[in-house]
Structures are given as structure tokens and as C-alpha cells.
């Protein structure tokens, strides 16, 4: 029978949906490019940039950003969002502090308790969203206020002390690589593997891609939404634990800046706002780019009052350049019939259905 040569309409390139795992496809290329350019610029500019210490502090910070973004991306991927990432992190920190400081528990008890809280709060979000069919925005907004109120009420703004046996994790390194960074990389790799290789991961993606179609195919979409939220809460609390460990104190204000960061890094890293698309590697790159820009502004002694303005311009520049690159790639591919026939397998990036 006659089947038209298949030309792909669009795709967001970061999708992990091509199951053989195009870890480095499309948009990810753009991210790697931006990252490399930034990295090289900084390395040339500053003699201290390539020092072990700089790498250490940067890697540690990247790890946090990536974890927080992952917590956000998990909700985005099923078509929702989580405004309460930061608040869950905050509340988790307070619980951790209560456990370690006030109740004098050992870290081996307090940390699981904290993570348990994260999972439970995610579960609560998920259940409200999926079972009561409420909007994820409203639910997580309410929860954000709830936890923010609780954490200040409980802690009174007081940071909790944590024992040295606990701070070890956040401050130690492993052949020069911060433990925290290793944790984040392992978590991201596992999540990437889950999204590529397991039924669970594919179900999450399908739920975000088209909930109705997924449900008709027997995907328990409600349960998937709950799971996504559970994981989101879990990673938010994990980030909180690691942060407290690095900080050497459980500060209730932890998480106050996470909301914007989590969205920004997730989106820069190529997670689709409308669901169904995620790239673990993209999250890492997104976090690195975001942080390199911030670090770079300090390195070049940009007028600190205007630093945010430069940050904004650079983010905009990054996406505009990326867009230009995409348009160019598309143009080239269209011109060259050979590359188009291959396009049946690969997907032209960023093509906007007219």
C-alpha cells in the first residue's frame, strides 16, 4: 500500500519519548552548546574558575538546582505543576530541625522522617488533584500557604542546629566531586532510566501527553498523577535535607526562593509546560547554565545592583539564540532532501506547525 514518506510535524526535541533514548537530541544539543560556550568563556576570563574549589562549590549548587527542578518537572510532566515545592522543602527542613535538634533524634531517624513527610505531602497534593479533580495550581497554592504558615508557626523563624554527624553529607566530597552532586546525578540518571525504560515512566509521560487517550488505553492516569506528586514531594524534601546538611543548620526559610528557580531551570532544561516531555539531562544542563550565568556575573564584577538584569538578558539571549539555531536547522533540513528522509526516524526540532 502507499504510505506517504513520513515527515514529522513537530517535536520538542528534548523528549525522552524516543524510547531508544535520544539523550542528546535536538534541544539538548542547544543546551550543551550554551553550557560549553559559557564554561569556556569563564575559563578563559578567570584564572580561578578552573580551580578545584570553584568547581566544588558550583557543582554542589548545580545539584540543588537540578533536584528542585526535578521536583517541579515531575509535576509538569503529568500536565500539572507544583507551587508547593519550596514550601514542602521549608516544612521538611523544620521537621528535620525538630527531629535533630528539639527531639534529639539520630539522623538515621530524622532524615527518613523528613523524606517521609515530603512523600506524604506530595501524596496529599496528588490525591486532592486526582481524586477531587481539582486544579493542581489551586491545590498546590493552598498547600504552599499552609506549609509556609506551619513552618513559621512551628519554628518561629529559629534555625535549628544539626549535629556534625549530619553535616558530613552536605560538605564532604568524593575525589573532588561533592557528594551532593553525586546524589543528584544518580537521582537524575535513575529518573532518566525510569522514564526511558519502565512502564511506570512511560505511563507518567502518556498521562501528561494526553490524559484522555492514556486513560482510554488503560493507563491509571489518576494514580500516575498521585505518583508524580509523591515523587515531587520526595525530591523537594531530599533537596531540603541536603541543603540543611550543607548549611549546617535547618533554616526555616529554606525553600523561599525555590519556586521561581524550579520553574526556570525546568523550563530552560526543556521540560514542557504542557506535559508529556521531560529530559533528565536537560535538567542538569539547565541548572548548570542558570548557575554559570549567576557565577559569571560575580566573576566579571558586573554591577551587582544590575545583576538580575544581566541574568534576565542572558536567559533571553540563550533562548533566542537557541530559537535561531532551531530555525536554521529546520531550514537546512528542508533544503536537503536526504536529511529529510532520515527525519522519519529523528524529529526535526522546534518546528512550529504553521
Amino acid at each position: 500500500m502507499e504510505t506517504p514518506a513520513l515527515t514529522a510535524r513537530t517535536a520538542s526535541a528534548l523528549s525522552v519519548t524516543a524510547p531508544r533514548g535520544e539523550w542528546f537530541s535536538g534541544r539538548t544539543n542547544g543546551l550543551i552548546l550554551s553550557f560549553t560556550v559559557l564554561f569556556c568563556l569563564l575559563a578563559v576570563w578567570s584564572p580561578t574558575f578552573l580551580s578545584g574549589y570553584t568547581m566544588f562549590v558550583l557543582a554542589r549548587q548545580v545539584a540543588f538546582y537540578a533536584l528542585i527542578a526535578l521536583a517541579q518537572a515531575l509535576c509538569l510532566v503529568v500536565g500539572g505543576m507544583n507551587l508547593s515545592v519550596g514550601a514542602i522543602g521549608s516544612m521538611a527542613t523544620v521537621l528535620l530541625g525538630l527531629g535533630l535538634d528539639t527531639w534529639g533524634l539520630s539522623p538515621w531517624l530524622a532524615v527518613p522522617m523528613t523524606l517521609g513527610f515530603g512523600l506524604a505531602s506530595g501524596w496529599l497534593n496528588g490525591v486532592l488533584i486526582a481524586r477531587l479533580k481539582l486544579d493542581s495550581f489551586i491545590v498546590t497554592l493552598s498547600m504552599m500557604f499552609l506549609y509556609m504558615g506551619l513552618r513559621s508557626g512551628i519554628s518561629g523563624g529559629q534555625s535549628y542546629r544539626v549535629p556534625d554527624s549530619f553535616t558530613w553529607a552536605g560538605q564532604s566530597e568524593f575525589v573532588g566531586v561533592p557528594l551532593v552532586f553525586l546524589v543528584a546525578v544518580v537521582v537524575l540518571a535513575v529518573m532518566a532510566w525510569i522514564f526511558h525504560q519502565t512502564v511506570f515512566g512511560r505511563y507518567l509521560l502518556a498521562t501528561g501527553g494526553n490524559a484522555t487517550a492514556a486513560r482510554l488505553s488503560g493507563v491509571p492516569t489518576g494514580r500516575m498523577v498521585v505518583w508524580a506528586n509523591v515523587l515531587s514531594g520526595g525530591f523537594a524534601s531530599l533537596a531540603a535535607v541536603l541543603w540543611a546538611s550543607q548549611l549546617g543548620a535547618a533554616a526555616p526559610e529554606t525553600g523561599d526562593t525555590w519556586l521561581i528557580v524550579s520553574f526556570a531551570v525546568a523550563i530552560i532544561g526543556g521540560t514542557g509546560l504542557s506535559g508529556g516531555v521531560i529530559s533528565a539531562f536537560g535538567l542538569l544542563m539547565g541548572a548548570a547554565i542558570f548557575l554559570l550565568i549567576k557565577h559569571g556575573l560575580v566573576e566579571v564584577k558586573a554591577n551587582p545592583y544590575f545583576a538580575n538584569a544581566f541574568l534576565g538578558l542572558l536567559i533571553l539571549l540563550t533562548v533566542v539564540v537557541d530559537r535561531a539555531r532551531e530555525m536554521y536547522v529546520e531550514r537546512v533540513r528542508e533544503r536537503d532532501p536526504r536529511s529529510r528522509s532520515r527525519a522519519g526516524e529523528r524529529i526535526p526540532e522546534g518546528y512550529q506547525a504553521p
Partner: protein
């Protein structure tokens, strides 16, 4: 002006663009001007500890000798301080005291509880020793808020005719502060005699609200004492809309901490492992509105003069 100085060995870091930070910076710059010692001045984007960590860690990779820092989080800042100390960099905290024990060598700050006590005493004085107070607190994630609250309660407890009608809190932004204070006024202006605000945002918001409130002569006169010297507040004092405010000497925070860093860098050693230096405070009323700045400056000069004698040993 140039935001930073070439060849500087010292860093002053302000957490965010904020009137308080601007005044501290004025102190640092005055120090640099008067002594010729270069200080790299830089300001962050948010008050939070994690933003401070990102920025200061980036700075510390560049080989500065000493840091003058506001602890974004009293306990959390210590990890950052420790990191700097292990790299052989000196740390002086300003503005607020970090959780103890701390790796910082000094804190130059106003004793916040003393400031809150002074303000409360003044308010009670204006109220004629009796009446009901609205207690307006600022950030609920800041442990200092609770300390101020305690100080206020302690003073109120000493005056039998005075009670706290209501406490409101959690306003780290002018809009929030305005909404809440207005709500409180709307709900119980009739029972109130005075308002105390112990933070920048509540003070500024309350000054604006009371200016508007007192425009209507039929309304009840509400006494007010705040803690901050923003232009709006000073203007309200001059116009008589509010009674007084406490100046906390931010100029001194900047000046004295820089002076300390310089001495540490020159090899002076602290007498004790950690010392708190009270930067003093001045109650600003309509009477000393034009002279209080000079008063504050005098306090600072005196403090700097006392440093070698009271807090440090000369280099060997």
C-alpha cells in the same frame, strides 16, 4: 560611583538592594574614602541564605582576604563563614548576630532587643503610661523577630496599665505590610492607643497609613514608634503623623566592620575568639530630627577609636 575597587583585599557584601544595605554601604565607602583602603562592595539579589552562598562562594574563589557579611540566616550563615575561615579568609558579621558559636571573629550590630526595648519604652511614654498596643512584627522566618517580640512583651509587662491588643506579623514587603496593618486598624482602631513596629517594612507602611489616618481630624490619635529611618518615616515624624523611630546606626555597621577587617588583615588578633560589638542606637523624634545623624556618627567614631584598646591585640 564605582561599585568595586581594583586591588581590594576586603569585601563587603550586602544581601540585597534595600535602604538598610544602602546606608551600611555608605559607612563602608566612608571608611574607604577616609582611610584609603580599597573595599570591594557588592550586593546580592535576595535576602536568602542560598543566594548569599552562591554569591559569596563565587567571591571567595577570587582570593580576597576578608569578608564583611550580613548573616542571611543566623544559623545557616555559619557554614558559609566556616568555609571562608578554612580558606584563611577573615569574617566579620554585621547587622545581626549569627547563631553562637560562630566562626566569625566579630559581629558589629545594634542590639536588637535593646532597640525594641527603647522603642517600646518611648511608645509607652507617648501613650502616657497606659493603653493598648498593636504589635507589628516583620519576617516570621527571622529569629530576630521573635527576640524583638520578647523584648516588647518584657517592657509591656513592666507597665501595668499597658497591654498588647494584638500582634500581627509576616510582612516582608510593603504591600503585605500595608494590607495587614490596615486590616488591623480597621478591625480594632477603637481599642488601640499605640502601635509599635520593629522592622523596616512595617515601619514604613505604618508611617504611610498613619499619615493618611491622621489627615482626618475626627479620627483618634494613635501613637507610633518604629525602627527605621527611611525618608517616608522621617517625613511622617516631621509632619507629626507619627512620634518617633529608632535609628540603628547602619552607617556604623559598615564603617566599623570594615575597620575591623582591615586590622585583622594587618595582623591584629582578636582578644577573644568571638566578640559582639554593639553599634548603638538613637531615638529619633521631632526634636533631634536634624541632628540625629551627627549623633550616630559620633557613636561610630567613638567605637572605631576604642577598637584597639577594647577588642584587638596588635600584631606581633
Amino acid at each position: 560611583f564605582r561599585p568595586s575597587a581594583e586591588g581590594a583585599r576586603l569585601v563587603w557584601y550586602g544581601n540585597a538592594a534595600h535602604p538598610y544595605i544602602t546606608e551600611v554601604r555608605a559607612g563602608v565607602e566612608a571608611f574607604a574614602r577616609e582611610t584609603g583602603v580599597a573595599v570591594h562592595c557588592t550586593v546580592g539579589q535576595e535576602w536568602t541564605q542560598d543566594n548569599q552562598n552562591v554569591n559569596v562562594e563565587a567571591l571567595s574563589t577570587q582570593g580576597y582576604r576578608g569578608f564583611s557579611l550580613y548573616p542571611g540566616d543566623p544559623a545557616g550563615a555559619n557554614a558559609l563563614f566556616r568555609l571562608l575561615r578554612t580558606r584563611g579568609q577573615q569574617v566579620v558579621a554585621y547587622g545581626a548576630e549569627p547563631a553562637l558559636p560562630t566562626p566569625a571573629s566579630f559581629t558589629v550590630a545594634t542590639d536588637i532587643q535593646a532597640a525594641a526595648r527603647t522603642a517600646t519604652e518611648a511608645l509607652i511614654g507617648f501613650m502616657g503610661g497606659r493603653g493598648r498596643i498593636l504589635n507589628v512584627l516583620e519576617a516570621v522566618t527571622d529569629v530576630n523577630t521573635r527576640k524583638r517580640d520578647e523584648a516588647i512583651r518584657e517592657v509591656v509587662a513592666r507597665h501595668p496599665g499597658v497591654t498588647i491588643a494584638q500582634t500581627i506579623a509576616d510582612m516582608i514587603q510593603l504591600g503585605e505590610a500595608t494590607t495587614k496593618i490596615q486590616s488591623a486598624l480597621a478591625a480594632r482602631a477603637a481599642e488601640l492607643d499605640g502601635i509599635i513596629a520593629t522592622g523596616f517594612h512595617p515601619t514604613v507602611a505604618a508611617a504611610a497609613i498613619l499619615t493618611e489616618w491622621h489627615k482626618d481630624p475626627r479620627r483618634k490619635r494613635l501613637r507610633f514608634v518604629g525602627i527605621d529611618t527611611d525618608a517616608t518615616v522621617l517625613r511622617a515624624i516631621r509632619e507629626g503623623a507619627i512620634d518617633a523611630t529608632v535609628a540603628q546606626n547602619p552607617f556604623g555597621h559598615g564603617y566599623v566592620s570594615s575597620a575591623l577587617l582591615r586590622m585583622l588583615d594587618e595582623g591584629w588578633t582578636p582578644r577573644r575568639e568571638y566578640q559582639f560589638i554593639d553599634a548603638g542606637l538613637v531615638l529619633v523624634t521631632r526634636e533631634n530630627l536634624d541632628t540625629y545623624a551627627a549623633e550616630v556618627r559620633r557613636v561610630t567614631t567613638q567605637l572605631v577609636a576604642d577598637l584597639p584598646a577594647k577588642y584587638l591585640d596588635p600584631p606581633r
